[in-house]
């Protein structure tokens, strides 16, 4: 499923195993729980890195699981995915997706919900497959995409059905850096996380700035505004 470890003072949430890491309610709940734990202990850490074993960051929603009871399970997965995106956007410290494999559809959107994206360039691509598969994206989920994708490239990303390797993703601003291997990708993410640790990038102020920078996503994902900070005045 997923493992949560701490290296130096950085949380690393890893989707384990060599499967496709497709999202079904149980899997998403395990990630949401890990995120809740990280939030409770955010004061002790400098960042969270979310990464994966194997060839897939995430290949999207678990369509196979959904097919067994289509109507009910589609609703359940849809609702839970919004909850997952809200959890990522509510993290009280910087979030870095170390994308070490394919990130397709919901997997791509999950990566976009993070503050930073680092990606391996030896294999794997970002792919918004919905247009090819014929799936619609609800406004709540769309708000994450439009918050994070440069408007110059939004049409192509949403309607072009293209597969972006790390280099192309970097050119289009979909990721922040590309690296030669999974180890290098994770290493780069750790270096950046250490840099964050030296500054005040955490807590209610950081969360407030993130939600203030992306208020449409905050609203559509149902994230309630941060509580008023006590003043010493």
């Amino acid at each position: 499923m997923c493992s949560l470890e701490k290296q130096k003072n950085i949380f690393i949430l890893r989707r384990t195993g060599h499967g496709e890491h497709r999202f079904n309610p149980e899997f998403m709940d395990s990630i949401i729980s890990a995120i809740a734990y990280v939030n409770q202990n955010a004061h002790q850490a400098s960042a969270i890195i979310v990464t994966n074993d194997g060839k897939y960051f995430s290949n999207g929603l678990d369509l196979e699981w959904m097919s067994h009871d289509k109507e009910i399970r589609t609703q359940a997965v849809g609702d839970k995915f919004v909850e997952l995106l809200a959890a990522v956007m509510s993290l009280k410290l910087p979030s870095i997706a170390a994308v070490c494999g394919h990130a397709c559809a919901a997997g791509f959107i999950f990566a976009l919900a993070h503050d930073y994206r680092f990606m391996r360039n030896d294999r794997g691509f970002l792919y918004m497959s919905e247009v090819d598969v014929g799936m619609t994206i609800p406004p709540s989920v769309m708000s994450v995409i439009s918050s994070k994708v440069d408007s110059r490239h939004l049409t192509e990303v949403m309607l072009g059905g293209l597969k972006y390797g790390a280099q192309e993703a970097l050119r289009k601003g979909l990721v922040d850096s590309s690296h030669e291997s999974p180890d290098e990708t994770l290493g780069a993410a750790i270096n950046v996380a250490v840099e964050f640790g030296k500054r005040k990038c955490k807590g209610e102020v950081y969360l407030g700035l993130r939600l203030g920078a992306f208020p449409e996503a905050a609203e559509k994902l149902g994230i309630r505004s941060v509580s008023v900070l006590p003043s010493r005045l």
Binding site: K200, C201, V205, R210, A213, R232
Partner: protein
């Protein structure tokens, strides 16, 4: 403080101080001076463009924290309200605006630059820096609305969520600036030239104002809402 001069149809508002090293910190006196200058431009029948620039080393290092610190309980809200009013005034002014940033621009002054239609900056003169995260301070909603309206997502993230200090060249690459120039004289000259080009289009001023407000909807309205600012307990003036 500021001076206002007129060159043909272009007004030039210059942030000035006591000497070269003056940080042009924004306090009620400076805000009032700027407001008066804007009023004059607004009401001038043949004004067709406005350039905002600075003398000395710095564009402006932001709001006057020393002045606020003497009585933070009331002065912080006074300054922030005046800052929001100033930013809204620039969004509402009825001529095209060009910022000639010839020195470091921090926080409120950075927002002032963003409130202009065009931004030119002198390479090597200093950095653009939204320092709030580093100080552990929230950014009021209206100001965030302005910042969001002018920056692409990844740049927005770097500016607000990473408090990146950007020199002119980097800021240009991130789409924050429209031009980068070798020295201060060239920067102002280019800004004035750009302002003259815009002035020569002969646009209806009220139509231009309406277009700007429609292009960046909700920004002026959000700046009009002044919410009392809560300074985090951990912050020290």
């Amino acid at each position: 403080m500021c001076t206002l001069e007129k060159r043909g149809k272009v007004y030039i508002l210059t942030l000035v101080g006591d000497n070269e090293e003056d940080e042009h910190r924004l306090n009620p006196t400076s805000f009032d001076a700027i407001a008066n200058a804007l009023k004059e431009v607004e009401q001038s029948p043949d004004a067709a463009a406005l350039v905002t620039t600075n003398a000395g080393k710095y564009f402006s290092c932001g709001i006057d924290m020393n002045w606020i610190g003497e009585s933070p309980h009331d002065r912080m809200d006074v300054v922030l309200e005046k800052l929001e009013n100033m930013l809204a005034s620039f969004m509402r002014i009825n001529v095209p605006t060009v910022a000639a940033i010839r020195g470091r621009a921090v926080s409120g002054a950075y927002m002032l630059a963003l409130a202009h239609d065009y931004r030119f900056m002198t390479q090597g003169s200093g950095e653009l820096y939204m320092c709030e995260l580093d100080l552990g301070l929230p950014i009021p909603k209206g100001m965030l609305t302005l910042i969001r309206s002018k920056l692409q997502p990844a740049t927005l993230r770097d500016v607000v969520l990473r408090a990146s200090k950007l020199d002119a060249q980097l800021a240009f690459e991130k789409g924050i600036l429209d031009g980068v120039f070798e020295d201060k004289a060239a920067t102002l000259e280019a800004a004035v030239k750009e302002a003259e080009k815009l002035a020569a289009r002969g646009w209806e001023r009220e139509i231009y104002r309406g277009f700007r407000l429609a292009t960046f909807p909700g920004v002026a309205e959000a700046l009009d809402i002044n919410v009392p600012y809560v300074v985090p307990a951990s912050f020290h003036f």
